[in-house]
Symmetry: C2
Amino acid sequence: MTGTAAIVAVGDEVLAGRVTDRNGAWLVGRLAGAGVRVVSRVMVADDPAAVAAAVTWARTQAELVITTGGLGRTHDDCTVAGVARALGRAVLHREPSAGDPWPEVAFAVVAGAELWPNPAGLAPGQRVTAGDTMVVLLPGPPAELQALAEAALLPWLRESGNPGIVRVTYTCYDLAESEAARLLAPLAAGQHPRIGLYARPGRLEITLESPADPERPGRVPLAIRRLEGWLHGVCPQPLLPLGAEERPGWIVAQLIARRLRVAALESLTGGMVMAALVGVPGASAALVGGAVTYTDTAKAEMGVPVQILREFGAVSEACARAMAEVARARWNVDFGLATTGYAGPTGGDPGHPVGTVFVGCAGPAGVVVHRLQLHGDREAVREGATDAVLALLQAALAADGTPAGEDMEL
Amino acid sequence: MTGTAAIVAVGDEVLAGRVTDRNGAWLVGRLAGAGVRVVSRVMVADDPAAVAAAVTWARTQAELVITTGGLGRTHDDCTVAGVARALGRAVLHREPSAGDPWPEVAFAVVAGAELWPNPAGLAPGQRVTAGDTMVVLLPGPPAELQALAEAALLPWLRESGNPGIVRVTYTCYDLAESEAARLLAPLAAGQHPRIGLYARPGRLEITLESPADPERPGRVPLAIRRLEGWLHGVCPQPLLPLGAEERPGWIVAQLIARRLRVAALESLTGGMVMAALVGVPGASAALVGGAVTYTDTAKAEMGVPVQILREFGAVSEACARAMAEVARARWNVDFGLATTGYAGPTGGDPGHPVGTVFVGCAGPAGVVVHRLQLHGDREAVREGATDAVLALLQAALAADGTPAGEDMEL
C-alpha cells in the first residue's frame, strides 16, 4: 500500500449534516480499489479561510488531498480560493475560449492546475501539484463527482500501479464486543490483515482488510483467508458473510440470478426493508412489492388473521410468522419478509420492552422467525431490524442449494 | 455568538462511511441551540497517532473540541491515548472503587480530566481543560452520546450564557442555483444573517442563520424576518418553508395535532416516503400504512385501474393521480401520497427519460400531481421524489385552513 489520501468536504450543509455526505464513503471505496487508503476526512464550512486551514492540515496527513464541493459560481462556493490560499497560489478567472473541452462559462482556477473536463456538469475538476502532495478539486454533486473520478482521477491513480485493498466483512449475532475483543486479542499486534470491530444494534461486524495480491488482484488474499478460517474456529456464534451495507446488493444479485422474487410486510421498519432493496439498481426484477402495515387494522386488512392479533398482539412471534406468510402468499413470491416490534422511544408492553423486535422470513423451506432485543434510539432499532430481516433472507438464500457463486467469497 | 467547536469522530467504520455518523449532525444542531457554532468536523481511523493529529489541528480551529467514539475497551479503541498525546498528558488506568458513580469496570482516563457519568452505558465522558481550549470526550453509540451530552455537556455550555443560533430553511422548486445566486448577490457581503444555498435534486434550499435574540431566544430574530420578507419579494417561484430534513417532523406533528391520517403508494421510492414519516416518533398515530407497488401487477392489485396502466403507462400523470386516490381510498385516510417514475440508471421511455418522476397527493381539497425532471444518480432521483411528494403534503396541510401553529414560523 503506497498511497494515502485525505478528503476535505466543503459546504455548510454537509458540515451541519443536513445533507449526508455520500461522496466521502464513495471515494473511500473507490480509492481503496486503486490502492489508496483514506486516512482522514474533514468537513468545513463555505469559507475560504476554513478551506485553506483544512487543506493545509490535510497535506500534513496524506500525499493526496481531495476536496469535494464548493466549485460552483455562487457567493458561497469558495474551494478554489481556499486551496489557492493554502498553496500560496493565485486564483485565475478563466474566460471561455473556442476549442475548450468544457462548457462556455467562466470559472475560477487555482494557478498551475491541470483541468479535467466534467462529463456530467459544468465545473471542471482541477489537479494541482504542490511539493510532495497533490491536491485534486472535485465538484460536490455526486453524479458529477463520480463521473469525474471515474474518467480522470481513478485511471490516473491506477497507472501508478498500486495493488488494491481487499476488505471482507462478517456479521456475528449474539456476540458481545468485549467477548469478540477477547477472542481477537492475540491478533491485535499484527499489521496485516487490519482488523476492525463495529458494534451495531443487535450484532457485531468484523472487517478484515489487506492489500490485494498483485498477481490476483480480484481475489481475497491468502492472509485474509487464513484469518477467516481461524475466526470461524474461535467464534462461539456463526459468522454471516457481508456487512449491512453490502447485504442488499448481494441479495438482489442472487435473487435476479436465480429468478427468485421477494415481497415484504413491514411494521416498525416502515418501508426501510423495501427501500434498502429498491436502492440496488435492477431491483424491480426481484422486489415485487409489499406493504407497510403500521396499525393492527392495516395488518388485518392485508390478511394477518385477526385472531393472532387479538391473542398474541402485533409484537409477537406468531404475528411475525403470519406477516411473512401473508407477504409470500399475497404477492405470490418465493420469499416473504416481515418486521414487527417496538422502535420506541415510547411503547412496549409487559414482557416486550422497547427494542423488542420479531423478524420473519417465509421461503420454500419454511418460515424462520428471530426475536431480537435491540438497544439504542428509534433509528438504531429500526436499522437493526432492517438488517436482521435481510440477514434471514441472506441465510435462506445461502442455504437454498443453488451455488451462491463467486460473489459469495468476496 | 461567542463559542466555536470542532468535532473529531474516531473510528474506521465512520471514516469509511460504512456507518453514517449521526453524532456529528446531532451535535451541530444541539450545540447551535447552546450558541456554539461547529466550524469543522474531522473523521479519523482507530489509530492514536491519527487521533492526536486531528485533535491538535482541531484545537487551532475552535475553543471547544469534542471527540466522539473510541472510548470502549477493545484494541481498536484509542481516543484516550490520542487525546493524551495531543495534550502532552499521561493516560491513567482507573480501577473501580467503592462509591464511584460509574460502573465497576476499569477504564482509561486522560490525566487531569473531569469525569461525567454515562447515563446510558459504561464509558464515562471526559472533559479536559488545556490552555485556551477544552477537549470533551464522548462515547460513540448515539444513545450514550446523546444522554451524556444532555446530562452534562449542554447544561455546562448553557451556563456560559450564549444566545442560541436560529436557522430557517426554505425550499424553492424550479429555481436554478445560478439564478438564486444572482438574486442573493446583493446580500453576500453582509455577515448576518448568514446565507447558505444548497442545490438538491429538483430544488434549491436556502438557509438563513443568525444569533438568537437574547430577549426572545425561541423566536426568529428580526434580521432573519427582514430577509425572509425580501426573499419572498424577489424570488420568481414560491418559497416553501422548511428543508428536506425538517419536513417529515413538521408533517407528522401537524397530522397528529389535527387528527389527520396519511397512507402512501410508492413505486420508484420503494418505501422511502413511509420510512421518512415513520422515522418521526409518534408517527404511528398518523401513518396508517401503504404499499410499495413496484410492478404494474402490484399496482393493479392495489386498485390502480388496468386501463390507466395500459393507456398511459405506470410513469404518467394519470397513474400518479390514480395511485394517490387509491392510497387515500384504500386506507380510508385524509391524504393519499403516490410516487412513480424512472430512477435509473437504465429505463425510461420516449418522452420520459430517466429522472422523470410524477408525485401525487390526494386530499380533501382534491388531487395535485407534479411532474419533475430530476438529475443525478438513482439515489438522488429517489431522494428528490421522496421530498417532492412530502412537499406536496406540506403545501396541502398549510393550505388546509387550520392554523399551522407556532412551529410553522420556525
